[in-house]
Structures are given as C-alpha cells and as structure tokens.
Amino acid sequence: MTSFTPYSALAGGLLIGLAATWLLLFNGRIAGISGIINGLFSNRSDRSWRAAFLVSMIVSAALIFHYTPVQFAARTDFPIGALILAGVLVGLGTRLGSGCTSGHGICGIGRLSRRSIVATACFFSVGVITALVSRHLLGVG
C-alpha cells in the first residue's frame, strides 16, 4: 500500500520535464533513459555525455533519497525469478521498441511523435493488464 502523493508527484514530474527540456535545449538530445544506456554500448564517440547524465542521475537520486523524507521501505519479498524475467523483458522491449517511459512517454509525446504516442498507449495498456493478472491471478507483486 502506498498513499497518493499529489504535490511531490507534480513537483517530481515538473523536474523530469525540465530535465528533458534542458538536455534538448543544451545538448540536442532526447532524455530517454533506455536510449541513453543503449548508446553507451554501441557508440564509442559519444559515450561521455551519457555517462555524465547517468552518474549524475544516480548521485542526485541518492542525495534526495537519503537526505529528504521521501525514503520508503524497500520491497524484500518480490520473487527473484520474476524480477530477472521483468528486467530481461524491459531491456529487450525498450531496445526493440526504441524507448521507454521517458523517451516515448515524456519526450516523444512532448514532440508529438505518432510512434511515441502509439508506443506509450501500448506499454501502458499492457502494463495495466500485466499488473492486474500478476497480482490478482498469479499472486506475484
């Protein structure tokens, strides 16, 4: 059970939108996390900005997590097999579908890309169905 947190959700969403705006305005890049990660392994010439973005994202998340009241009790009972399966599906799916929640959802829709609108509708629908089935029928999560 988690409670509805409208103010921190809105503030966090605004920061994510600002981050995406910043990266496009200054670096001319789409702030899609799966794309930024995948480029680390495929494109030797522009690895450094990707690494800078990701390392900085991890550090800032750590600071907010450890030094503000947003801390939460970590989930400890999620089956490891399901966690690994989910990770593989997310990695494979974002590679084939060229994006994730940030790349398609925040940035792609932000520039009114039809591909991103379709992809976002698709992964949200499948995500809802999967959560319903895995939690209520399979008892996972």
Partner: protein, 136 residues
Amino acid sequence: MGKLLSAALAGALFGAGLTLAGMVNPLKVLNFLDLAGDWDPSLALVMGAGLAVTLISFRWVLARPQPIVAAQFNLPVNKQIDSRLLAGAALFGLGWGLAGYCPGPAIAALSFGTSEPWIFVAAMLAGSLAGRCLDA
C-alpha cells in the same frame, strides 16, 4: 566540457524528479498500474506534469536552429508504426507491469543500498544486448 556539464545537470534534475515523485518505489508504480488494488494515482500526475512542460518547451526549443552546446539536434528519424515498435512496447509493458521498474527508476535506485535494482538492471542490460543481437 560544456556538453558534459549540461548533461550532468540534466541527469541531476531527472534523478531528483524521479526520486521526489516516488517513482523509484516499484510498489508505487504497481499500485498505479493495478487499477483493482489500493489505487495510487501519483504516476498519472508525474506523467501529466512532465508532459505539460515538454509539450510546451519542446516546441520552443526545436524552433531554434541548433542546441546551445551541440552542433545539431539528434532526433529519431523513424516515423514507421510497425510490428517491431508494437512488439517492443508490449514486451516492455509486460516487464514493467510485472516488477514495477522501468529503466530510469531502476538506474536511479542503484544507490539506495538494496539488491533489487542491481539484479533488475543486470537482467535489463542482458535483455537489451539480446535485442541488439536480434538486429545483427
């Protein structure tokens, strides 16, 4: 140097936003996707607020001839809505709805001192590599 600094600043804003919004907690994500449980609408506000910014700002940014510290905008050129896009998005939705992690929050949560994000990210990189091999 300018490129690295501005990318790092964007990353810092992104990580702060994800964490502040609670999206780094997979249970909060699952409690949004699971409409039949104790529904937590927070994720809708995160997406809504993020989109409210980008829908306006991107139009303004992309009207510029070029970005500030790079030579040109690097935007996706593929406009095809094909089976590959749909299959990829569906597989992603399957993994997301199962564990509650998408790539950003999983990476951001690596520093929280728990093992879950590490296992998920390792599996995610393996899945991404497998997808790359499918292309080759």
